[in-house]
Symmetry: C2
Subunit: 338 residues, 2 copies
């Protein structure tokens, strides 16, 4: 232990009340007389009392802790989600214990175990290593964001709709060839629907299309190298056609845009580019990117709503069903498309 803290016992001794009365001062003040309330109030200041929520938790159960496991904070998308979740404190009063997953399943299991030992009331999970079936077996309120979620509640962007918006926009802009660039998302991930959506719209349109779906690597150098090869390939196959390129995220789109500009000195009319996310780079790139905006505040708001309802249901031994909610994204037209 460190410095001895002032407790209800100290206040009780000082004021000649019982600990019970001090407790009531906080939890049911109307049961005290105005005068006695004042006496206790003065004593609290005089003795410099500070509340101890851990003792309260032990006595009555609810920690107001929520655990978060997020893959990384390197991608702006994840940082933005985390920031929005943390901000919900103002509304829900939950405190957040945050872990960064790093895609290692056993590490993440250890994190969950640790979180459970602190009696978290719920868990928000964005990392994708642990199957949702296993997560469901922990029997705590849980909601996922943008990951596989067969057995747990989830909030996802409507990726299919996003891809439809992007692809339709490129078609409307009279592209001769449609291209989608992605980086091997797993089929059970919501983001996989960016491929599905693209493909189905293309097939309905009779416009030729091409999908590059391969691991682009994690570093800027690798991403740049891989995208550069794709650009060369496109130039070789379709030198004169207007190419509509829909990339899986704004980082890829920005790198691709830079490659084009370094090659041609400008963004030629025969290239149209759509990214995904509307992360800051979309605004800050040399030519502002047309992109599919994910509604991050809405995503996190829904996640907190679902989670707090599940927590409420669990406390009151009500049953609660798994909820899957999708948030429609929005096409933001900027300067990389006509």
């Amino acid at each position: 232990m460190t410095v001895k803290k002032v407790t209800f016992a100290d206040i009780a001794r000082y004021t000649n009340f019982s600990k019970t009365t001090i407790s009531r001062y906080f939890n049911n003040p109307n049961s005290l007389t105005e005068k006695n309330r004042q006496i206790i109030s003065d004593a609290l200041i005089k003795l410099d009392y500070h509340e101890n929520k851990l003792a309260k938790v032990l006595a009555q159960g609810s920690t107001e802790f929520i655990g978060i496991i997020i893959p990384n904070l390197y991608l702006h998308y994840y940082s933005a989600i985390l920031e929005n979740i943390l901000n919900s404190y103002q509304e829900y009063n939950y405190k957040f214990l945050v872990f960064v997953g790093h895609e290692d399943i056993n590490t993440e299991r250890q994190y969950i175990k640790e979180l459970l030992s602190y009696n978290i009331e719920g868990l928000i999970i964005l990392s994708h290593t642990i199957p949702s079936e296993e997560l469901a077996s922990y029997k705590i309120p849980i909601v996922s964001i943008e990951r596989e979620s067969c057995y747990i509640s989830s909030v996802d962007t409507d990726n299919y709709l996003g891809a439809v918006q992007a692809t339709s926009h490129l078609i409307k802009n009279k592209c001769d060839i449609l291209v989608h660039i992605n980086s091997l998302p797993k089929e059970d991930m919501p983001a996989f629907n960016r491929i599905t959506g693209f493909e189905e719209v293309c097939q309905d349109s009779d416009i030729p299309y091409l999908i590059y779906n391969k691991d682009l690597g994690a570093t800027h150098e690798n991403i740049s190298k891989n995208l550069s090869h794709m650009l060369d390939d496109l130039e070789e196959k379709y030198p004169y056609e207007t190419k509509g390129i829909f990339l899986a995220n704004d980082t890829y789109a920005s790198v691709f845009l830079n490659l084009i500009i370094r090659k041609f000195g400008e963004l030629p009319d025969k290239y149209q580019i759509v990214g995904f996310d509307d992360s800051p780079i979309a605004t800050e790139s040399i030519v502002p990117l047309t992109t599919i905006q994910q509604k991050i505040p809405t995503l996190t708001q829904y996640a907190m709503e679902i989670l707090s309802q599940e927590i409420y249901a669990r406390k009151n031994k009500l049953s609660s069903e798994i909820v899957h909610r999708e948030v429609p994204p929005v096409l933001v037209k900027r300067e990389t498309t006509h």
Copy 2:
């Protein structure tokens, strides 16, 4: 309360040991016989026991909680710091309760109060609203990163050295006029030394210099507009000179670079640009930015070292002195300087 948890009492009843023996199984297993250890081990699994660290905390004191107050997660710099701090869990086993400050002093005071009520063992603070003198009055181990820190321990980048490196590099590259662009940092902030360092090197060099130090705004639009005016101003005053521009961060540098390229179609030899931070945008911009790299892993490592030492000292009632540690940054030469 929710579902009834299995406790030491249940294990004790089941195995016919006392609660004390069960406790010892965890904290001093060698004091049990191999056979009894096995009996308890089996019972734990059979009854599906899960540890309750909150009860442990109440009984013995240390929560292993550390509070973090960070201004935002929008800037990659802060996300990167947070990610590194969170990762220290692997080494130190501290759990982190994270709050986002948003530059409101009363909100942040409320956060600290909440954190204290959960008996955090230490606090890491990056937001700058609460004066360090007030922070020191909370009498808990505390370390700041890149903020005013007269009365508390701190870890900062050596901003002065960073500015010296940037400015010297521009001088070595034969710039005729040196320019620094900043956004009104407070004088007691470590980042203010980027101005001091620039100015002193310029004065020593006899090369003319110029400082634009004004609020550039928070949105990309405002930053862009303000930087655009500065670019016009420079073109008017120094049309033929080689201009060496040192900007306060990579975002500004990237926006400035884009303005130049949109104006001239390329980065002319008469412009040399140095940013600060080495955030991802420095690598990903259309011309990779020369920048001053902040050593974020080192910053956070030192912060955790200092904090854990202060926590150790406090637990053992040792005195501990305030420590101010500076981390030298590194000049990363890329393509915006010769």
